[in-house]
């Protein structure tokens, strides 16, 4: 791993008096010691995403005395984040996530350098952004960015500390090391768009990214210190409900298009396209809450279809609708009256668009998606309903 850490050049990484006290518990570990702490001070780690996974990583890397920490996030803090993104507080709502992340890191440890990167990582900027760092931690929440980071790290020769979560389960590994696999060795093809629910759509146990993100921080620190056995070549699986960890042995795919013997991917590509996400030429399939209200008031012959889960239906609903959870739509769609105009809704308009595509593919012609879902309905038409 030392090969990936650039030589310490001219920056003094001697420890100040205060640092001997601050890092005392590191210094007395034989595997760390003064030399290790100086290596941490000399290191720069980039955390992409100041969200669920990024939060514990930012705290622990700052506490550990990593000399330079970059934090990249283009988003602002929202109330809905606070259930799990512990780097942000109630007072940070509405403000850029990098601001609260940076200020918490500096509060933990004013002796480190924090670089805020309030940008969305893309094929245009990723190589430039990561080139200043020794290790990259993936705290993102979508497939295109994960593939982007993987490829950028392989192309730049930086280890990529991977972590991801789903409801109660998590995965972690270290990709893009010289001998180890990369993310594409494991998952050469992304899943179809909208098949795997995000935290927003599927929900997540708040504590879960706390565990996986901490594991990522541990792996980053181990890489800097070159101690222990990294997760390179292993996929760690975690199940919070059973409190079970398992590790699978994985290996480099010699034919991998990015890190294999004859790579065909030698520069960053369009990852949205790679993951099948196309700009919505589906705008004309959308209907606004106001338009829906008008149709209902006019007594139009519509069928309002709710494709959320029963548990969501219990919280709120637009009256007059029929509930068929998304996963049952393919099975029950033939019960729907094709002569009516079918207006589909869910919480935010994402799952309902998925259902719409399903129905269209099955020959339904008069289908529309309620843009923004019941959340938009609550904002614009009926604020008496409970939002969630």
């Amino acid at each position: 791993m030392k090969k990936n850490i650039p030589e310490i050049e001219n920056t003094s990484t001697d420890l100040a008096k205060e640092e001997y006290i601050r890092y005392s518990r590191h210094l007395i570990l034989p595997e760390v010691g003064e030399e290790g702490q100086r290596e941490l001070k000399a290191a720069s780690v980039l955390i992409v995403g100041a969200g669920g996974l990024g939060s514990p990583a930012t705290f622990y890397l700052a506490a550990a005395g990593v000399g330079t920490i970059g934090i990249a996030d283009f988003d602002n803090v929202e109330l809905v984040n606070l259930q799990r993104q512990i780097i942000h507080g109630t007072g940070d709502i509405g403000h850029p996530k990098v601001d609260s992340a940076a200020s918490k890191m500096r509060a933990v440890n004013p002796l480190i350098k924090v670089k805020k990167i309030p940008e969305k990582l893309s094929s245009e900027n990723a190589m430039q952004i990561i080139k200043d760092y020794d290790v990259v931690i993936d705290g993102t929440d979508n497939f295109p960015t994960r593939y982007l980071l993987n490829d950028a790290c392989v192309l730049s020769g930086k280890p990529y500390v991977y972590g991801s979560i789903y409801r109660f389960e998590g995965q972690a590994s270290v990709f893009a090391t010289e001998l180890g696999p990369c993310y594409r060795c494991l998952y050469p093809e992304p899943p179809p768009p909208n098949l795997v629910p995000s935290c927003e759509e599927g929900g997540v146990l708040g504590i879960l990214p706390g565990i996986i993100g901490s594991i990522q921080a541990a792996e980053a620190i181990k890489l800097v210190l070159n101690i222990g056995e990294s997760l390179a070549g292993q996929l760690l699986l975690f199940d919070a409900l059973r409190m079970e960890f398992s590790k699978l042995k994985i290996r480099k795919n010699e034919d991998c298009p990015v890190c294999g013997k004859n790579p065909s991917v030698t520069e960053l590509i369009d990852y949205d396209q790679f993951c099948g996400i196309t700009a919505d030429a589906e705008d004309n399939l959308n209907i606004t809450p106001l338009q829906l209200k008008q149709k209902m008031d006019n007594g139009d012959d519509i069928l309002l279809l709710d494709v959320r889960e029963e548990i969501e239906y219990k919280i709120n609903r637009i009256e007059g609708g029929q509930l068929i959870p998304l996963y049952l739509v393919p099975l029950k769609m033939n019960e729907l009256d094709r002569s009516k105009e079918i207006i589909i809704y869910c919480r935010n308009g994402i799952r309902s668009m998925d259902a719409l595509r399903n129905l269209k593919a099955a020959g339904f012609e008069k289908v529309k998606n309620l843009a923004g879902g019941i959340n938009a309905w609550i904002d614009q038409i009926d604020p008496t309903l409970q939002k969630y």
């Binding site: 991801s164 098949l195 995000s198 699986l237 994985i250």
Partner: protein
């Protein structure tokens, strides 16, 4: 021969179970197992992208299976 198949993430929801014991032919491989799962659990067909591991080690579709093997099917997840 019998193998124990462990499911993760979306796979659990599509199959409706965390694990299943599957009876296979003596010379069956992973590909045969996947086909069997897709036939017996049609929703499982939605899973196009997944890692397979046999006894905690990555395996490709051609890997032959033995009695008592533990097979894990791990779809990608992306939450953060």
């Amino acid at each position: 021969m019998k193998v124990n198949v462990k499911f993760f993430a979306l796979g659990r929801e599509l199959v409706g179970n965390n694990s299943l014991e599957i009876e296979l032919g003596e010379s069956d491989n992973i590909k045969n197992l996947i086909e069997r799962l897709q036939n017996e659990h049609p929703k499982f067909k939605e899973l196009k992208s997944f890692v397979v591991a046999v006894n905690m080690e990555y395996a490709d579709m051609q890997k032959s299976l033995n009695d008592g093997d533990e097979v894990a099917i791990i779809p990608p997840v992306s939450g953060g």
